[in-house]
Every structure is written in structure tokens, then in C-alpha cells.
């Protein structure tokens, strides 16, 4: 059953379809949240919130907005950006987990892994092909929610350099992902 069909069934309040979507995409959502927030507890809350939103608003999804995985990843990222903004306004003590490595998943569920494994590898390859400083700048913007000015301050780099890195890096990534 395709993701679109599953989501249509979620929209009809068929909870088994949500369980199936969880099996397909919870790991991705959790990983995005962990990558952005570096806090396992909050990442778990994000997963719960994303699937609650999918359960309640599945009928709002339309294929023109991209694939189901992209839609769900976008919900997760925006929720994480909200959390990052909240942290900036009310800074918290540094989490112990910020210092500990993320435990990566093994191939313990090959069927699930196969869902987007090829696409993920393609994206990682593309990222690996752009210069490290461009990649780091893009990741600070995308995963940390930083503006170009904030990145310039963080990296102690002129603002114009940051703009150039984002422009060139994104253009190269776009070309690589089109291939």
C-alpha cells in the first residue's frame, strides 16, 4: 500500500494506517528531531506531536505539497524550529546529551530500512560532494534555524561569505539531486 493510500485511510480515522505510517517514518521523524534538538526526551515528544498532527490533519495533505515523507519531515522540522526559538528566548542549561553521540540505528529492520534507503544515500552523497564550509553553513541554517547574520556571527565569517556559501552550496545541491 502506498503512502498516499495510507494517509487517505488515516484521514478516514483508520488507526491501523497510522500504525503503519509510524513503522515507515517514526525513525526518520525521531532522527530529524534528535539532529536538531540533541535531546532524546524532547525528540520523543516531537514524534508524538507529529503523529498526533498527522492523525488530526491527514485530510489537509495534498500530493502537490510533496511526498508524504517530505510533508511529515517538514512538520517535524518546523516544530523543532519552534522549540529552538523557544530555547533562544529562554536559554536552558546545556543538556548532557549534547555531549553524547547519537546512537545510530543498525539494519535491524531491513524491510523498513528499504523504504527510503536509496533516496537517503543519494542525498548524503550529494551533501558529501559540496565543499565542507558550504555544507556546514547550509546545515546551520536548515537544522539550527539560524539566519545568515547569525551564522556569520557564529562562524566569525563576513556576512557576504555566508551568503555566497549558501547560494553556491544550494545551487550545487540542486544540480546534484536532479541528476
Amino acid at each position: 500500500m502506498t503512502d498516499h493510500e495510507l494517509l487517505a485511510r488515516v484521514a478516514r480515522s483508520e488507526s491501523w494506517a497510522l500504525a503503519e505510517l509510524y513503522d515507515r517514518y517514526a525513525r526518520l521523524i525521531y532522527s530529524i528531531a534528535l539532529r536538531m534538538l540533541r535531546d532524546r526526551g524532547v525528540a520523543e515528544e516531537i514524534v508524538q506531536e507529529v503523529f498526533t498532527k498527522v492523525w488530526r490533519h491527514a485530510q489537509e495533505y495534498s500530493p502537490e505539497r510533496g511526498s508524504v515523507s517530505t510533508w511529515m519531515a517538514s512538520i517535524a522540522r518546523h516544530r523543532c524550529l519552534d522549540e529552538l526559538r523557544r530555547r533562544r528566548v529562554r536559554p536552558q542549561p546545556q543538556s548532557i546529551e549534547e555531549e553524547s553521540p547519537i546512537e545510530l540505528a543498525g539494519a535491524d529492520n531491513p524491510e523498513d530500512e528499504a523504504v527510503d534507503a536509496v533516496e537517503r544515500a543519494r542525498i548524503r552523497d550529494a551533501l558529501a560532494q559540496i565543499p565542507p564550509e558550504q555544507r556546514a553553513t547550509i546545515e546551520l541554517a536548515f537544522f539550527e534555524g539560524m539566519t545568515q547574520q547569525e551564522i556569520a556571527t557564529r562562524m566569525q565569517t563576513p556576512l557576504g561569505t555566508v551568503k555566497t556559501r549558501i547560494h553556491l552550496g544550494m545551487r550545487k545541491l540542486k544540480e546534484l539531486l536532479k541528476e
Binding site: R27, E44, Q48, F51, S74, A105, R120, T147, Q148
Partner: protein
């Protein structure tokens, strides 16, 4: 540099959310009326969206699935409105009314009360069944087994949410052929020696969708295969037709 050219330069940073608020507002205003820039935006948006899909995958906490499904599905919704599965009829019979003579009204009232009690019992049983079903579904951590349609029903498929150490499982089927009157679907669990044990019976809706809270006589890990056949209403002691869905349980 024209506003158009300037915004085209801003688009890569815009899709990353990296523009300062005044720059972002300027870009948004131009994008609203420029088809060419909107096309460029779409391309870059796809690129930005891809970044999230490329993150290294982390291990999921083992109990997160049950907590997530409980929160998403269970929060703020009465169970009967979850629509997980066909629920008992909720329409209550209406009383006759003033035009009926008193005796007939009394009879109807009594019949209605009896019907209501019966309905209520059926309804409670159905809800209990649904609750058990959701529980199995929620706690089957990453162990959904694909049940494939055989040559008799190649379009049919199913998922069996199973904990092999227990004797209950949750089965979902889609696109099974519609049943004729007097027929029912029956799930069979086969042991290594070839004996069949019934795991329960179920029907499907007009789309061929069905569900079953499977109850096995013993631990599910003791069975080799699961099969679904069409049987006469009430079920059979052993399969009387060829399976339409089938899957291996052992070693999967």
C-alpha cells in the same frame, strides 16, 4: 539590480529560512506575483526538503510506538468515534408517539427498552473488542507481518501485528473479495504437524477491508503459518476452501 534579480538571489536562503525578517518579507511580496521566481522557489524548496530526509537514522526507543499511538489516537476522542473498525449501530429506535394507542405504546416501549439493553450490550462488547485490538496494535513494536494474497486473490493484502510470546494478534486486511450471504472469513493457524487451529472469523466491508482480533489457543510462536479462507457462517473446524491470504509465522 532589479527586485526580480535580487529575489532570485535570495531564494536559496529563503527556502532555508535564513533571511532576516525584512528580506524574507521582500522576497515573499515579489514571489506572490512572479511565476518565474515561484518556479525557481519550487526547485529550491525540493532541495531544502531533501536535507531532512538525509539525516543519519537513530534508534527508536522501544516503547515509543505505543505511547505515540495512544497519544495521537486516544487523546480527546471517544473510542466509538475512532472509526478504527466498524462499530455497533448507534441509531436508537424511536418510540411510537402520541398517535399510538396506550397499549401499543406500552408494548413498543418495552420492546424498545429490551432492544436498547441488547444494543447497549452489543455496543459495549464491540468497544471492548476495539480497545483490545488497539492495545495489540499499539504494543506490537515493529513486528507487523505482511500477509500476502494468494493466486486466488492477488490484490488482497494484510498486516498481522503479532507478539509471538502472546496468544493475541491484530489482523488488518484490504481488498479481500466480498463475501456471499452465508459466508465468513476464517483465520487459521497451522502447526508444524499440519493441524489447523482457528484464530477467529471476520467479515469485510464493500471495499474488502476487514479486521480481526486474533485469539490463538496457545502462544503464537508455536505456529508455522497463518492462512485465511472463506467458510460457511459460524466458521468451520478445519479449512474447507483454499486460502486467499497466507504468511509464514515461524522464523519471520
Amino acid at each position: 539590480m532589479s527586485v526580480h534579480d535580487e529575489v532570485q538571489d535570495l531564494i536559496p536562503a529563503y527556502v532555508l529560512g535564513a533571511l532576516d525578517p525584512p528580506e524574507a518579507a521582500r522576497a515573499r511580496a515579489h514571489l506572490a506575483g512572479c511565476a518565474e521566481c515561484t518556479g525557481v522557489l519550487r526547485e529550491y524548496q525540493e532541495t531544502a526538503d531533501s536535507l531532512a530526509l538525509g539525516v543519519p537514522l537513530a534508534k527508536l526507543p522501544p516503547d515509543l510506538k505505543s505511547r505515540t499511538l495512544e497519544k495521537a489516537i486516544g487523546e480527546g476522542q471517544p473510542r466509538e468515534e475512532m472509526g478504527l473498525i466498524p462499530t455497533a449501530r448507534r441509531a436508537w429506535p424511536h418510540l411510537g408517539g402520541a398517535q399510538l394507542i396506550a397499549g401499543a405504546a406500552l408494548v413498543i416501549t418495552l420492546l424498545t427498552l429490551a432492544w436498547s439493553v441488547w444494543q447497549s450490550t452489543q455496543f459495549s462488547q464491540q468497544l471492548a473488542l476495539q480497545r483490545d485490538f488497539v492495545t495489540v496494535l499499539a504494543y506490537a513494536e515493529g513486528s507487523a507481518l505482511s500477509v500476502r494474497g494468494t493466486a486466488l486473490a492477488p490484490q488482497a493484502e494484510g498486516k498481522l501485528y503479532v507478539d509471538r510470546d502472546s496468544n493475541v494478534a491484530a489482523l488488518i486486511t484490504v481488498q479481500l473479495p466480498p463475501l456471499k450471504p452465508g459466508q465468513i472469513y476464517q483465520l487459521w493457524l497451522t502447526q508444524a504437524g499440519g493441524q489447523y487451529k482457528s484464530g477467529g472469523t471476520f467479515t469485510v466491508d464493500s471495499s474488502g477491508d476487514g479486521w480481526l482480533l486474533v485469539r490463538a489457543p496457545s502462544r503464537l510462536g508455536e505456529y508455522a503459518r497463518v492462512e485465511i479462507t472463506v467458510e460457511p457462517s459460524g466458521g468451520s473446524a478445519a479449512p474447507t476452501t483454499q486460502p486467499l491470504l497466507s504468511a509464514a509465522l515461524a522464523g519471520s
